[in-house]
Point group: C2
Chain length 269, copies 2
C-alpha cells in the first residue's frame, strides 16, 4: 500500500487530519521515563485520533546510539495502518542522497520523508524513486528565519517569483509519479493560502500549529487539499507535553482528540 | 583548542590541505571488511597526509544502528590533532536545530558541521553558538542540481544577485565570532573564484575534486584563503576506493599523498 492510500485510510478511520510529532525532549518529558516508553504511551493514547506520526530525527540523534535505537523501535510501534513520516530534512548530492533514502525508507521503514530542496533535482531524485513513499519538499518552513531566503524575489522567464514559489513549481515537476508533497508552515498564512490555491491536490505537511503560533481555523479553511485526505496538520509539543505529571499520556490523548475535533468543527462550519 | 587552530596545526604538520571524506560504501569496499575496520585502516595510512577528515552521515545511517556506532567510533579513531567535520547538511527550525547541534558537537564530538541555509538564521544560530566549533554553510554545492535554485537571480536592495551569493553574504553576517565557513564546490570554478575573491579569509570546505570532476590546479590557484590554512579540499572516493584489493589501504595512502603533493606543487609553481 502506498503512502497516500495508507494516509487516506487513517484519515477516514480516525476522522482526523492530525499528525502527531514525536519529538521527545527529556527536559520536557515526565521524569524517569525513557524515550521509547514515552513514545509508546503517546502512540497508544493518540492512535484513534491521529492520521500520521512524525518523529524528527534531531531529537533522537541528540540522545546518541540509544536515541537511534529508540527511533527505530518507535517506527515499529506505530499501528500498521497509520503512516510514519521521517522529519529528517535531508538533502545531499545524488550519490549521498541515495544512501539517505535507503536509510530512511529501507532501514528505518518510514512511509515518507521531508527533504530540503537547496541542492536541487539530484538531491531529491533518489527519494522520489521510491514510488510508494512520499517525499515532502520543504517549501515554506514555519520558523521566523524562513523569510531570509524563501521570500527572496527571483527572476524567472515568467517574471519575478519568491523562492518558495519556485520551489513549489519545481516540486510539481518532480511529482510525475504523484509522490511529491510540500511542507508549508501554518505560521505563514498568506503563503499557505497561495500555495494551496495553486496546487489544490498536492499532499501538504503543515507544521506550525500550537507552540509555534499558527492559526488552526485559518489553516483548515485555506490549507487543505480538495478531497481533505492528503493534508496532515502537525502538532508536537502541544500534544506531547500537555502534562508533565503522571497523567501525561491521558493529557496527550485529550489534546490530540481536542485538536482533531477542532479541525472537524471548522470543516463542519 | 578551537577548530581553526586545530586545522592550522594539522595543515602545517602534514603540509596538507587534503580532507579525506570517510564515506564507506560496502558496494565499493574490499569484501569481508567492516566499516569501522575499513575507516581505521584508511585513517592510519592517510593521517600523515590529511589536514581533516569528513564522514558523511548518510553512509552510516544507511547501515542502521551498526552504522551509527561505526560513525561514533570513527570519530574517536581520528588522531586528536586532526579536526573531524560532520558532513551532515542539517537544517531545521531553532528548537530542533539545537538538538542537531547537540548531537553533532556534544554527542559525537565533531569539530565542525555542514549546515543547509534554506531555513534561514534560526536554523544556523544553534550551531554557531558553539564558538570553538566551525559551521560550514552550504553556499554552492558541487552537484549538477546545484544550479536549480542556487543560481537564481534574486532582487536585493543593491541590485540582483544569485542565491548562492546572498547565502555567502548572510554567512559573513553570521560570522561575527569567526566560526562560520562556506561549502563551495570545485565543480563550479567561476563561482568558487568569485566567492573566494569576495571573502579572502573565510574558511572554505571544497568538495567536488576527483570522482566529481573538479579541477585541482584551478581550485588551488583560485580557492584558497589568504593564509592557506583555512581551506580544506575534500576527496572521498578517489582516496577510499583507489583499490578494492587487499592493498586498499596502501593504495589509499598513496592516493592521499599524491593529492597532497599535487596541491603543494601547484602552490610552489
Amino acid at each position: 500500500m502506498d503512502f497516500l492510500e495508507k494516509l487516506a485510510g487513517a484519515v477516514r478511520k480516525n476522522k482526523s487530519l492530525v499528525c502527531v510529532g514525536l519529538d521527545p525532549d527529556p527536559s520536557l518529558m515526565p521524569e524517569g521515563i525513557g524515550v521509547l516508553d514515552f513514545n509508546r504511551a503517546i502512540i497508544q493514547v493518540t492512535s484513534d485520533f491521529a492520521c500520521a506520526y512524525k518523529p524528527n530525527f534531531a531529537f533522537y540523534e541528540a540522545l546518541g546510539i540509544e536515541g537511534m535505537i529508540a527511533l527505530r523501535e518507535t517506527v515499529k510501534s506505530v499501528p500498521a495502518n497509520i503512516p510514519v513520516i521521517a522529519d529528517a530534512k535531508r538533502g545531499d548530492i545524488g550519490n549521498t542522497a541515495k544512501a539517505y533514502a535507503r536509510a530512511i525508507f529501507d532501514c528505518f521503514g518510514f512511509d515518507a520523508c521531508t527533504v530540503n530542496p537547496y541542492l536541487g533535482s539530484d538531491a531529491v531524485e533518489p527519494f522520489v524513486q521510491y514510488r510508494d513513499k512520499m517525499t515532502f519538499i520543504l517549501c515554506r518552513t514555519s520558523n521566523a528565519g524562513a523569510a531570509d531566503f524563501q521570500s527572496l524575489r527571483c527572476e524567472t522567464p515568467k517574471g519575478t517569483k519568491q523562492l518558495y514559489e519556485i520551489v513549489a513549481e519545481k516540486a510539481s515537476v518532480w511529482n510525475e509519479h504523484g509522490n511529491v508533497g510540500l511542507v508549508v508552515g501554518a505560521t505563514y498564512p498568506d503563503e499557505l493560502k497561495a500555495v494551496r490555491a495553486r496546487y489544490p491536490e498536492t499532499p501538504f505537511l503543515i507544521p506550525g500549529i500550537g507552540a509555534q503560533g499558527g492559526d488552526l481555523a485559518f489553516t483548515v479553511k485555506n490549507g487543505l487539499d480538495k478531497n481533505r485526505e492528503r493534508t496532515v496538520i502537525n502538532s508536537s509539543r502541544q500534544i506531547l507535553y500537555a502534562s508533565r505529571g503522571k497523567d501525561f499520556a491521558e493529557a496527550a490523548g485529550k489534546a490530540a482528540k481536542t485538536m482533531r475535533d477542532q479541525i472537524n468543527a471548522v470543516l463542519a462550519s
